[in-house]
Structures are given as structure tokens and as C-alpha cells.
């Protein structure tokens, strides 16, 4: 049973109907299948942090929800410690859910405003019937609150979320995720709602907890700098597909996909990007989620030409150690 990988995602696919909702509304009245996640494959080792990066609607949050089994895939398989969990139900599923937890973007949304911190933090124990007495409850809560840096923990127990600052709330959310001692934490843009001066504290806390509790993490963000700070590996997603995946230094110092290149430039040399933006990306945005079989980035790519339009060109190819790119213009 012991397997090298904690999580293996194999060719995950998930489609949504475009019947309603947002931008998709304008495409066509007919029921178009839209790939929210398309052929997503990656592996996650224990104690590893992988970053999913991309713009809104690129499928990063959908991928995370699939990992947490909050959504079922249409196609593809998901393995946890070598075990196929794609079709887990009921008992097996709740066992798996104890091992995976999520930290959301907006801690205020994520925490029930009517519950005090003690009840919020210990709720996972209650749900999984691991609470025997009030004393155990308080002890566990204090322990976990201290580990996320809320000191003195006792003074927080009976407060409500609206009495806390943004950073403190996010710490409570992390404490709640930790209390079941999971193997995997999915952090969905955990710092994007926070002020810069607070953000650093949360990032450092997550890194510290990873070492302390031997956690693996899926870290979702739209900010490449944050991903660079947090992650071991980075997967860049565009329109539901992973377009480039590799160790963070490879991605940031040696980006190969045109989309990654643009992202790197914006994050680390914005001034240069502002002056020469036309050499990085074409004007326009993701106007349609219709997928083709050669390249998702077709419409905005500055390197696009007729040679690109061959079916199967969206497949990943290796360009370096552990570094894969979905672009036919990238030779080794």
C-alpha cells in the first residue's frame, strides 16, 4: 500500500453546462459542454507544496474541489496513497475527508459568524464523533490555536469572528483545518483578501506548519511571487488545462510557455511588461471556453502560427528535469 505519492491525479476531466452563469451566458443558447478541468494530471509527494496558478475561471478551484471530493469527476482517476478513491462513497469517503482539509480565500465567509471560536475550531471533531468531553474539546482547541500563533489561546475561545482581525480569522480557519491532523491541505488563495503587512505572517505560518505536521499542500493563487515563495513545484493552468508544470525555479527563471512568460514578466518586471506588452501577449481575454485540440492559448499567444494548429499539440512534452510544457514551439 505504501506509495511514493500522496495524491495522484490522472487525466481529470470535469465539464459544466453553460446553460447559465457569468460570461458563459453569452456564448450560445445551446447547451455547450464547457471544460472546467480538462486532462489534468499531476502527482503530489508527501511534504510537498504544489502551486496551482492561473486567472479566474482557469479551473484551479475546480481542481481543488475534485481533490477534496466536493465534486465528482466526469473522467479520470484520483489516487490517495496508491488507493483509487475516484468512486469512494459514505464511510470510505468520510475517512478520506478527515485526511484532507481546505482553507478558503475569505476567512469571514468560511467561518460561521454565529459560532464562537471554540465551536468553530472543534466542529470537525464533533462531526467525526471524536469529542468525548468538554475538557477534551477545550484542550484540543487550545493546542491547535497555539500552534497557529493565536496566543494566549484561552482568550480567543469564546470570541466571535467579527471581533477578530482579518489575519486572526485566517489563523482560526487554519486551526480548524488542522485539528483533524490531515495529510493534505488545500489552500485556496488564503492571502488574497489580506493586507500585505499581514500576508507574510500567514505564509510563514503555513510553511512552518508544513514542517511541523508533515503536511502536503495544494496552494492556489493568482500571484506568481506568492507561489514562488510557498511552493516546491508550480503548475500553470489556462482554460482548464495545465500548460506548464515544473519545479518553481524552472518555472520562474526559465519559463517556456508564452503564457507563463507573460505571467513571470508581470510579477517580477512589471515595468518592462508595461513598456513592451505587445511582445508578451495579445490584447484580448478569455472570451470563450470552447476548447480546441491543439492549443488553449491560441487567441492571445504572440507566437501563434499555422504550425501550431495540429491536433494533439496540447499534449505535455518534457523540456527539462520534471519540467513539462504544453506548447509545440518549445523544443528541448
Amino acid at each position: 500500500m505504501n506509495n511514493r505519492y500522496l495524491i495522484e491525479a490522472n487525466n481529470l476531466k470535469k465539464t459544466f453546462d453553460t446553460k447559465d452563469g457569468g460570461i458563459l451566458k453569452n456564448i450560445k443558447k445551446s447547451r455547450l459542454k464547457v471544460y472546467a478541468v480538462d486532462e489534468v494530471t499531476f502527482k503530489l509527494e508527501p511534504r510537498e507544496i504544489i502551486g496551482l496558478i492561473g486567472e479566474s475561471g482557469c479551473g484551479k478551484t475546480t481542481t481543488a474541489k475534485i481533490l477534496l471530493k466536493l465534486l465528482n469527476v466526469d473522467e479520470g482517476e484520483l489516487f490517495y496513497k496508491g488507493e483509487n478513491i475516484t468512486h469512494f462513497k459514505n464511510r470510505e469517503l468520510s475517512e478520506y475527508r478527515k485526511k484532507t482539509q481546505i482553507v478558503f480565500q475569505d476567512p469571514y465567509e468560511f467561518l460561521n459568524p454565529r459560532m464562537n471560536i471554540l465551536n468553530i475550531v472543534t466542529e470537525p471533531l464533533l462531526i467525526n464523533k471524536q469529542l468525548n468531553s468538554e475538557n477534551v474539546k477545550i484542550d484540543k482547541a487550545v493546542e491547535v490555536l497555539e500552534s497557529v500563533g493565536l496566543n494566549p489561546a484561552k482568550s480567543f475561545l469564546y470570541r466571535f469572528t467579527h471581533e477578530l482581525s482579518g489575519g486572526q480569522r485566517q489563523r482560526v480557519a487554519i486551526a480548524r483545518a488542522l485539528i483533524l491532523r490531515p495529510d493534505l491541505i488545500v489552500a485556496d488563495e488564503p492571502t488574497s483578501m489580506l493586507d500585505v503587512s499581514v500576508r507574510a505572517g500567514i505564509l510563514n505560518l503555513l510553511l512552518g506548519l508544513k514542517d511541523q505536521y508533515n503536511l502536503s499542500m495544494v496552494f492556489i493563487t493568482h500571484d506568481l511571487a506568492t507561489a514562488g515563495y510557498m511552493c516546491d513545484r508550480i503548475a500553470v493552468m489556462y482554460k482548464g488545462r495545465i500548460v506548464e508544470i515544473g519545479p518553481k525555479k524552472e518555472i520562474i527563471y526559465n519559463p517556456r510557455h508564452p503564457y507563463t512568460k507573460a505571467l513571470v514578466e508581470v510579477a517580477f518586471d512589471l515595468k518592462n511588461f508595461l513598456e513592451n506588452k505587445d511582445s508578451f501577449i495579445k490584447d484580448g481575454e478569455v472570451d470563450s471556453y470552447e476548447q480546441n485540440d491543439y492549443c488553449s492559448f491560441e487567441k492571445r499567444c504572440v507566437m501563434m502560427d499555422a504550425n501550431c494548429k495540429h491536433d494533439g499539440h496540447h499534449k505535455m512534452q518534457q523540456v527539462g528535469e520534471n519540467h513539462f510544457v504544453a506548447c509545440c514551439k518549445c523544443e528541448h
Binding site: 468520510s94 478527515k98 460561521n112
Partner: protein
């Protein structure tokens, strides 16, 4: 607990809410102590028919010589009780529909909401007249008719509240920890919905009182129970509006209906302001 006190303060900081409460408490007291307050038994003939107001009969007597003041006082009982009971029936149905529809969504939601739309659009009163006439006049029939025909709008309000809560991050978080539907409903969805249910109950009561009076006025109420609507029904059928009798026969019951409905409306509105922060501006 602190939050409860805050809300109480907020509720009473709204002067209208306070006025409404005072009036309602007054009505409830009158309803409970009607036999002690009323000078006569309203079902007893105590004077000449169509008597003018006098020291004995402050509001005169009706067509069969019963004391109108006593009728009006006893009427408080019937009208108040009927309003609350009908609203209760409506809210039970509305809550079940709203919760199921909002929480489970999908096809159930589509079907139930279509039903809500239809029952909101169809003319309510004609349907009530039909049902009431069909079931025959009795206290409970009226309660049931009003109740089963006015569940739609509370169902809609409750559903939208459930939907808002259901889409909150913390519900997803609970699901991710393995919380079951029953746990989520009882622990996370019902408590914040309860206050909306109560405020709806109060608003529905005020509407039910009006509907009851309308049905009774049309002669579809229980003629053996003296509600305000029934008093007005007899006043109308005896053409009280053609003589001076309207001042003591028609005016008082109508004013009392208005006053009671207003008190409910004030209470309901200030409750809603607490429950629905969007309105708190």
C-alpha cells in the same frame, strides 16, 4: 447571549417596533380577559334592536339587540386567534417547502418554485371564496383555507435565505470535513433561518387577519363566532351604512382590525430589519 441583548436593543431602538409591541400586548390582554372586560354576553339579547349608543350600550346594539361593544371585545379573541393559527399553517408549509427547495436545489427546487410562482400569480381571494364555500363555514375551515393558500410568499423568502446560507463558505467547509445534510440543516441552516421564519410569521398573521375579515365579510365565515369580519358582515347586510349607525357599528371593528394589523406590521418590519441587515440603512 450578548448578541441577543444587542438585537433586543436594536429592536426597541426602533420606536415603531415598540409601539407595535405595546398595541399587540394590549390586544392580547383584551382577548384573554374578554369575559371580564365585556359589559354583556355578546350572544345575549340585552336591548332593543338597532339601539343608539347610550350609557348602557356605549356602541349601541345590533339588529337583534346584542351589545356591539361586547361583540367587538369578544371579536378580538377570534380575529387574533384565527390570524395566528392561519399564519402558523402557512408558515409550516412555507418552511418545509422553502427549506427543501433551497437546500436540495435541482429539480425539486424547480418544481417547487414553479408551484410558488403559480400560487402567487393566481387570484387568491376568488380561490379562497371557492374553497371556503365548498368546505362550509367553520372556524377551522377558514384557518385551513387561509393557511394553505398563503404559504407561497413565506416559502420564497425562506428559500432565498437558505440559498444565501447554503452558498456560504462555511457550509462547504463543513461538507469538506464530512458533515451530513441533516447535520448541516439543523446546525448551520435552521438557526439563522429561524429569525426570518418568526418575522414572516408575524407579517403573515397581519395578512391572515385581513383575509379572515374579508371572508367573514362575504358571509363565508363561521356565523356562530363573533369575529370583527362577521360583525361587519351583519352591519353590511342590514345596510348600516345608510343611517348614522355606521359610526358605532361599522367604524369601530374596522379601526380595530387596522390597529391590530398595523401593530403586527410594525413588529414585523422592525424584526425584519434585525434579521435582514440589507434593510438596515
Amino acid at each position: 447571549m450578548k448578541k441577543f441583548n444587542d438585537n433586543l436593543k436594536l429592536f426597541f431602538s426602533n420606536k415603531l417596533g415598540l409601539i407595535g409591541t405595546v398595541i399587540l400586548v394590549g390586544f392580547i390582554l383584551v382577548a384573554i380577559f374578554a369575559p371580564q372586560i365585556a359589559p354583556y354576553d355578546p350572544y345575549q339579547r340585552i336591548g332593543v334592536p338597532f339601539g343608539k349608543p347610550s350609557m348602557q350600550n356605549w356602541l349601541g346594539t345590533n339588529d337583534v339587540g346584542q351589545d356591539i361593544l361586547s361583540e367587538v371585545i369578544y371579536g378580538t379573541r377570534i380575529s387574533l386567534l384565527m390570524g395566528l393559527l392561519s399564519a402558523g399553517v402557512a408558515l409550516i408549509i412555507g418552511t418545509i417547502v422553502g427549506l427543501t427547495s433551497g437546500f436540495f436545489g435541482g429539480r425539486i427546487d424547480t418544481v417547487l418554485m414553479r408551484a410558488v410562482d403559480i400560487s402567487l400569480v393566481i387570484p387568491m381571494l376568488p380561490l379562497m371564496i371557492l374553497l371556503a364555500a365548498f368546505l362550509g363555514p367553520s372556524f377551522w375551515n377558514i384557518v385551513i383555507v387561509i393557511g394553505i393558500l398563503s404559504w407561497a410568499s413565506p416559502a420564497r423568502v425562506i428559500r432565498s435565505q437558505v440559498l444565501t446560507i447554503k452558498n456560504k463558505g462555511y457550509i462547504e467547509a463543513v461538507k469538506a470535513t464530512g458533515g451530513k445534510s441533516s447535520y448541516i440543516i439543523t446546525k448551520h441552516i435552521l438557526p439563522p433561518t429561524l429569525s426570518i421564519i418568526i418575522s414572516q410569521l408575524i407579517l403573515m398573521s397581519s395578512r391572515a387577519i385581513l383575509m379572515e375579515s374579508s371572508l367573514s365579510f362575504l358571509g363565508l365565515g363561521d356565523p356562530t363566532q363573533k369575529s370583527w369580519g362577521i360583525i361587519l358582515y351583519y352591519a353590511q347586510s342590514r345596510s348600516a351604512f345608510l343611517s348614522d349607525a355606521w359610526i358605532w357599528w361599522i367604524l369601530p371593528p374596522g379601526l380595530l382590525i387596522t390597529l391590530l394589523v398595523i401593530s403586527f406590521a410594525y413588529i414585523g418590519n422592525s424584526l425584519e430589519q434585525i434579521v435582514n441587515p440589507r434593510l438596515r440603512r
